[in-house]
Amino acid sequence: MARVTELLVNGGRRRIDADSDRTLLSVLRDDLDLTGTKFGCGEGQCAACTVLVDGTATKACITKVGAMAGKRIVTIEGLAPEGKLHPVQQAFLDADALQCGYCTPGMILGAVALLGRTPNPSEAEIVSGMNGHICRCGTYPRVVHAIRSAAGKGGLA
């Protein structure tokens, strides 16, 4: 089995030793203790495990770590490295766009990616862009509001 020995995560090189067919989610959570990336379903249906891979929202639970060579991965822990919240994180707090918070890291990274490709999305673009994310607490209207608000304040990554 091929081994993966290095990942580019949150701006740094992290040493790992993982089978290439393991999921990115497991390596992030179990090997690197980056548990802000959540397990929700394991089948790419809920997007709680969303991370950015070269700026693209990627479901880590259905992504093999072997496909990550040379790619820049950003997890929720890498979004506010200096302790200053990213505008999208702040917008989620301001709009009270969370209840239990379990979907929130994935939602935020999905929103950052959405704003990266569509800096000023319409409500319909937010709905279609975020429709892969599940929030069981039902904060969807607030998430839409938060993304619009972040877009207005330059919520680019």
């Binding site: 089978d19 393991r22 497991s26 959570r29 179990d30 203790d33 980056l34 548990t35 802000g36 990336t37 959540k38 397990f39 929700g40 379903c41 394991g42 089948e43 249906q45 809920c46 709680a48 997890t75 929720i76 822990e77 979004l79 506010a80 919240l85 994180q89 989620f92 707090l93 009270d96 969370l98 209840q99 239990c100 918070g101 379990y102 979907c103 929130t104 890291p105 935020i108 937010i126 709905v127 279609s128 975020m130 429709n131 892969g132 994310h133 599940i134 929030c135 069981r136 607490c137 039902g138 904060t139 969807y140 209207p141 607030r142 998430v143 839409v144």
Partner: protein
């Protein structure tokens, strides 16, 4: 057992809800545990630098109890929110609590914490008066300090970090709702920052030194028994331990991937069982198995309610660690003390030998009342002699957890020409008794809950059976309105005497523009109202129905909600909106399909839950009754959306759908 009854004024009369009955309904078991502690120190401690630690057995599952209870402390103690630390749901540190169930945190725990904080405030004033030998009336208390003239002392300086054994006086003065400064305001989620940065550790995320990851081998069918097991291939894997105790089989290994491979390497043979019912036959099965016999069906109209799943986004998870005969378990459960009892019973140990700690949890909705993962983790940890983590998969969560009960509900009634309901008979099979009683004034009404057998494991759910009972009642209200050719709003107002019920109906219909609504082809408007767990809800919905496919799109909903004095308006709005979104799923498309002892809808790809694109415009109207005690709000807003949609569909196309979900 001490019975403390509480009362809810309902219509002209008084309904007595026995707390024990509610607990039994919510948890499937009787109340356990001792008396509520009376000393201040059991609830609240002031440290030497003025930090206030508050102890409550309630859990935080997204309903924002951590924030609302902080507001209770700040309001009465006069200390900045940042100085308050809530220790929640740790059975070694917090007073016994029956569980975060039945929307009881706000009506029960919130006043308890307020009284404790108010008693601490009085104690601080006493200490300052003594210290400075001044008249107590000359003191002011604000911002974590007591002051008199030019002198001032921080809470920490006065309290000296002592644990206060003084009893909370029954007559301790509390701030009037009309004078609230922090309660009644939208304090932001106190640990929201930890959620948006990913710093918060849920049970699913926790690690302990030397811990193994475990998986359990479940039978292929509910009730199947193990005939033979070959563990040799699994045990040959490096680091793998196999636990086999009767029907219970588990594997554990240092890396989760090894655990998964070991589970797959187990060779098991199971004795199949014949299932008694499937998701099609279950409604007849309910009636056939009714313990008190079924009512005569003659003139009754049947409605059916599907089983649905909670689908908390964080599946069940636990980490267990044994040390010196005591087990500590971190797990996401709404009943930490209930889980402690389960552990004590399972391992034959005293309750003090089990400690349960519940980190803020990735939601529950009534779906995490027990200790499934905790018991598995503790059992495996005991067998392998190391800390063990047991994270359920989504498939396990959607198969081996419990469901909101399915049900068969039969109803009949009559209305006089003026709209007054003259007859009402309502039989609920298996769904449950919550919200069974009509809030309308109907002489001689007959309402009965019939216990039956259930082919699936079932339990609590947000609002329990109130959703099913409101769906049927409010749908049938429209059927009766039609029978006497009255507008649904007018018909409800004719039969609603309870002022609080009338208020939510009027507030929702006014904001919705009910009277000015314009009928167009393929569009429909529906209204529903209800009462449950001390709060009132009125819901209006507008839908479009595709004339060819029958596909329903909910376009707009208005919800008027009244739960007494509002504790946190923004968080209340969030709960109301969330309940509507969650309720859309059960109303429109959620349904557990099962047969032959298996769940067919055991994954999110096979079980649809509401998503962004399903959400209508949601407008909420909060009726703030500062003259009334605050009631809980996490559940009741969910009960009106299904009947409002069902009634709107009928308005659009004349088809009365008598089942949940409405779309199949």
């Amino acid at each position: 057992m001490k019975r403390r009854d509480f009362f809810a004024v309902l219509g002209g009369g008084i309904m007595v809800l026995l707390e024990d009955e509610i607990i039994a309904q919510e948890t499937g078991g009787p109340r356990r545990g001792g008396a509520v502690p009376v000393e201040i120190g059991a609830w609240l401690h002031i440290g030497s630098t003025g930090e206030v630690t508050v102890y409550t057995g309630k859990v935080e599952v997204g309903q924002n109890a951590r924030t609302s209870l902080t507001q209770a402390v700040v309001e009465e103690l006069h200390t900045p929110p940042a100085t308050v630390k809530m220790v929640m749901a740790d059975t070694d540190l917090t007073p016994f609590d029956i569980g975060t169930v039945g929307s009881m945190t706000t009506p029960r725990m919130w006043p308890q914490i307020r009284r404790a904080a108010a008693a601490a405030r009085e104690m601080l004033l006493d200490l300052a008066a003594q210290k400075w030998s001044v008249d107590r009336a000359s003191l002011t208390i604000a911002d974590g300090k007591v002051s008199a003239g030019g002198r001032s002392a921080g809470f920490g300086e006065l309290a000296h970090g002592e644990k206060w054994t003084r009893s909370i006086p029954s007559s301790v003065p509390l701030a009037e709702a009309t004078a609230w400064k922090v309660a009644g305001k939208s304090l932001p989620k106190v640990n929201g920052r930890d959620m948006v940065t990913g710093a918060h550790k849920y049970s699913y995320d926790l690690k302990r030194p030397g811990m193994l990851h475990a998986k359990v081998l479940y039978p292929p069918q509910f009730g199947a028994t193990l005939v033979s097991l070959d563990t040799s291939a699994a045990e040959a894997m490096p680091g793998v331990k196999v636990v086999h105790e009767g029907n219970f089989v588990a594997v554990a290994a240092p890396e989760p991937d090894t655990t998964a491979k070991a589970l797959a390497a187990l060779k098991a043979e199971w004795k199949p069982v014949t299932a008694e019912a499937d998701s099609r036959s279950v409604f007849q099965y309910f009636k056939q198995t009714a313990r008190d016999g079924a009512a005569a069906a003659g003139s009754l109209t049947p409605y059916t309610i599907a089983y649905i799943a909670h689908v908390p986004l964080e599946p069940r998870a636990a980490v267990a660690e044994w040390e010196g005969g005591k087990v500590t378990v971190w797990t996401g459960s709404q009943r930490p003390f209930g889980v402690r009892s389960e552990l004590a019973q399972a391992f034959g140990i005293a309750e003090e030998k089990a400690r349960v700690i519940v980190p803020d949890t990735g939601s529950g909705y009534g779906g995490k009342h027990n200790g499934d993962a905790a018991l598995e983790a503790a059992r495996i940890a005991k067998a392998v002699g190391k800390p063990v983590k047991r994270n359920w998969t989504r498939e396990e969560e959607m198969t081996w957890a419990y469901f909101r009960p399915g049900g068969l509900i039969e109803v009949s009634g009559k209305a006089a020409a003026d709209g007054a309901i003259t007859e009402w008979e309502f039989h609920n099979y298996n769904s449950g008794g919550s919200g069974l009683q009509s809030p309308y004034s109907i002489p001689g009404k007959k309402e009965q809950f019939h216990q039956t057998k259930s082919p699936l494991r079932q339990g609590s759910y947000r609002g329990l059976a109130a959703t099913a009972n409101h769906f049927v009642r409010e749908s049938y209200m429209d059927e009766l309105a039609l029978s006497v050719k009255l507008d649904p709003l007018e018909f409800r107002l004719k039969n609603a005497r309870d002022e609080r019920l009338r208020n939510v109906i009027l507030a929702a219909s006014d904001k919705f523009g009910w009277k000015a609504r314009q009928k167009t082809a393929g569009r429909g408007f529906g209204i529903a109202a209800g009462f449950e767990k001390g709060s009132y809800v009125g819901t209006c919905a507008e839908v479009s129905v595709d004339p060819k496919t029958g596909a329903v799109k909910v376009l707009r909903t208005v919800v008027a909600f009244e739960c007494g004095a509002v504790v946190n308006p923004e968080h209340l709005r969030n709960q109301v909106e969330g309940a509507i979104v969650m309720g859309l799923g059960g109303a429109l498309f959620e349904e557990i399909q099962f047969g032959e002892g298996k769940i067919a809808t055991n994954r999110l790809a096979r079980y649809r839950v509401p998503r962004f694109a399903d959400v209508p415009v949601i407008e909420s109207v909060l009726l703030d009754r500062k003259d009334l005690a605050s009631a809980g709000a996490g559940e009741t807003p969910i009960v009106g959306i299904a009947p409002a949609i069902g009634n709107a569909i009928f308005d659009a196309n004349g088809k009365r759908i008598r089942r949940l979900p409405l779309m199949t």
